[in-house]
Amino acid sequence: MPYIVIGVGIVLSVIIEISTKKSKEILPWFSVLLFMGTAIYSIVNVSQSFVLFSGMLEVGGKSAIFNAIFNFSAALIVLSSIDYLKKYEAYYGEYYILIQSSVLGMMVMASAQDIFMVFMGLELMSICFYALVGINRKRLSANEASLKYFLLGAFATGFIVYGIALIYGSAGSTSIQNLVENFVSYSSNIIFVLGLLIFFVGFSFKIAAVPFHMWVPDVYEGSATTVTGFMSTAGKAAAFSVFIIMLSAVVSYNAPNFFKNYFAVISALSMVLGSVVAISQDNLKRMLAYSSISHAGYMVIGLAAGNLYSIAGIIFYLAVYSFINIGAFSVISAIEGKDESRIDIKSYAGLHSKSPFLAAMISLFMFALAGIPPLAGFFGKYYVFFGAIQADLTWLAIVGVLSSVISVYFYIRVVVYAYFKNSEENFTIQTSVGTYSAIIVSAALVIICGFFPDLLLGIITTAVK
């Protein structure tokens, strides 16, 4: 049902774009409505789980949660894009259509019950992202980002397809259901394990885990801020949704713990490297790119632990991470000036005197990213650490906390500039209804999920079980 709605929405958007010149005013609000409607529909129908397209897609349960996350993030991103795109000089109607399509792709990924569907969803999403990254085709930075993203993304796709081929060959089927049921017998087949590993590597690229993270800083820096916000949240969540689907096969059947080790290692690498390198970044978008790498690391802890708690933890983490990051990128987009100026941390000096609201909000999001209780970010980490310790991965949890100590430094550095330093540049910040409402909604969610994590967690736990 939600897939049809989005699909119809895309068609309608295309028609609007073609038929009227006012499409730029209509499309954003249309998209917001579309996304919000789908998000709410998904949340309401969490408990109704059924299968579509002869076992290809599953509706409800985990996928409903993911669908809600995708749609909700998209809605917020669209809100904050309205005014930003004018500034960014890329005020095209297809922007919204691309977002809608990519959301459809994500939804397919998250609901997939067959590796084919995973691939289809992934490609739909990725191709839209390639285009979104380069949406401002006049700008060299956007060109470079999209080219890098495209080449490396396609490279990764090559691995994924090859992996799928090997899995298919050794299992004789692409149904995930089948994989789950017969995992133990398959796992003695070296080709199967090899295929699965290659497949996982491809997705490790998508979630930006070290050492497959190299594209992230450049692409995040070069694309439009709102697009970065979208990719780093919904895009990452979509890739994780695939891991979680596949993982129910890998872990619940006592597989050889090779994958556990694999995840543990890339998680440790990502956490440490992301945190460490972020320290020396002055460009805020680039810094958040590295932060996103380290957060991917935290989430992978949950994959390594692989129990119910940690899976619920990852989903929770993804949801709150989406709110936080969208909020943070919205603030950045609000402050950003023409020609991608003012994304350097120095421009944030004395922000509190220019705009107390934005200063408070960026601090809130930074503290949340740093995982300071009682903000939502803390609970995400708490959950994955909890899962890790339960799975006897205490060392990983310790690596995690140590790297979050390091990461605190660059998060609070933003607060230092916003509050403790005096302004050096003079500029005025235009208020934007769309962006500000996106920020407020994200902030509210960050606080609410912090004080009452059970609201969200309750839904997730029921869905996971």
Partner: protein, 653 residues
Amino acid sequence: MINLIYITVLLPLIGFLINGLFGRKIKNAFPGSSGEKIIGTIGSATVGISFLIVVGAFFQTISLPVEQRSNTVELFTWLSVGGLNVKFAYLVDQLSLTMALIVTGVGFLIHVYSIGYMHGDKSFWRFFAYLNLFIFAMMNLILGDNFIVLFLGWEGVGLCSYLLIGFWYDRNFEKGTTSQAAKKAFVVNRIGDFGFLLGMFLIYQTFDSLNFTEVLSKAATFPVAEATFGLIAIFLFIGAIGKSAQIPLFVWLPDAMAGPTPVSALIHAATMVTAGVYMVSRTSIIFASAPAVMMIVAVVGLLTAIMAASIGLVQNDIKKVLAYSTVSQLGYMFLAAGMGAFSASIFHVMTHAFFKALLFLAAGSVIHGMHEEQNIQKYGGLKKYMPRTYLTFFIATLAIAGVPGLSGFFSKDEILWYSYANGSFIFWLIGMLTAMMTAFYMFRLLSLTFYGKERFDHHHVHPHESPSVMTVPLIVLAFFSLVGGYVGLPKVFVGESGNLIDSWLKPIYAPAMNKLALYGSHSHFEEILLMAASVALALSAIYFALHVYTKKPEIAENLSVKFKGLYNLLLNKYFIDEAYEAAVVQPIQKGSEKLLWKVADVVLIDGAVNGLAKLIDKFSAGIRKIQTGATHAYAVMMLTGIALALLWLILSL
């Protein structure tokens, strides 16, 4: 009256609060000297009334049978934790009453004297507030029925001493300032307190109580190792050394002369410095259980006595001479205590309080009349200008020099006798030598001040007698210096019970005496012989001093040139201050600054912390270079990752 004893503690406190909080207002409200009078009256009256109460309690106690002479007045619980139960309670017995009489009595006189001495001082009210606070603390010290209340007073008097030494906080004193002297006093005292604290801890560990009655009775009966007793005694004695200015912690007392002279009289001569003697005497049973420590006490006392006396021989500051004399006399008291003659030491505390307070007050009167000049070389022939001061000073000098019939003679003689009887001839000899020196330097002081040529500048200095508010206390003290000794007449003359003070205090020391039991058999003849010898030697020293300093000052001059090294050594107090400065103070200070702070803290610890941060920062700056911007490199990185993963997978199969 015994039950009202807490009033004697409270009254000075009230006086302190009134003068301390409202003194400035009183002074401003009543212009001229009437404000001073009110403040002075409040200050003196509180102590005076306390004195009367103590006297009442004294007579009440005397009227009781001997067994009931020890009474406790409880106020409220102070510290009650686990097995520790410390009350604010006062112990009224023979020893504390004796001390209380001295403190309030002499204290009252000095208060009165101060009204005159401090006249015109801008902080008149503050002075009286501090004095009252001192009396409050001192009363706690001597009346407290447990170690902690004693310690409260112990530290409290230290504080008052600190405040009063630094009373003229903007004046210079010798090479430094008064406040440096004050700080020195407090810190050196604290070193002693450190020992005292450890003593208390060990007592609590051993006897599970800090209450005098309990601890002392347990100490008399409990089977406790002698080593433990020894350790306790050593610790307590360290406390006493600090407070009573014995070797090696005596250095603060001469510097304490930076305070106003009444302070020197009250705190640094008559009362506070004897607190150590009181404490040893109070815990006599513990000391008596550790004979080795007793010997240490005696030796320390003896050495202090002779050392301080030798320094006193050459000092030129009138108060300095008296200060070293005090140190020396305190040494006598410890000698007595160490010899087991606790009552003799308390007796000497009493007589010393009279004559030394008198000496200081009289000296104060001289200083007052000489416009704050303290160098005795610039005095001379003052007898005719200040007759009353001279007379009283003369009496006190006789007393301290051990001229028979005066108070000092009896107490000093008793100590010397016990140092022979319970100790050895060497003890007596050194004690005797000290007594000779004492007689000498006191008469040197007397001669240079009151006799001989007038060496002061007549144009600027107009010596005059002090007002009667100052001289009347002098006269009263002179009276007691004359007759105070008769409560402790030698047993050789008056028999076992004729020594009033000894038989009064005896019950206190009974347990200690039981343990000691070291009275050797010495004949009366020996005692009288030694007494005669000491009198003869003292008198000859007096004669020599008078002769040299009134008639032939050049002899002194020649001697000082002839024995230049010795003279300088003595003049500079054996360079002990300098030695401490170089051996203790400087190393600690420099070490703390150069080593602990600037190296250990800033470089090592903080350096490690910041270094770690810097390391991560460097690491970050280095590792970010991996991100070259070249798409190829990214692909290579990915492939490396895949290759490693595959390799690992294959290896793990």
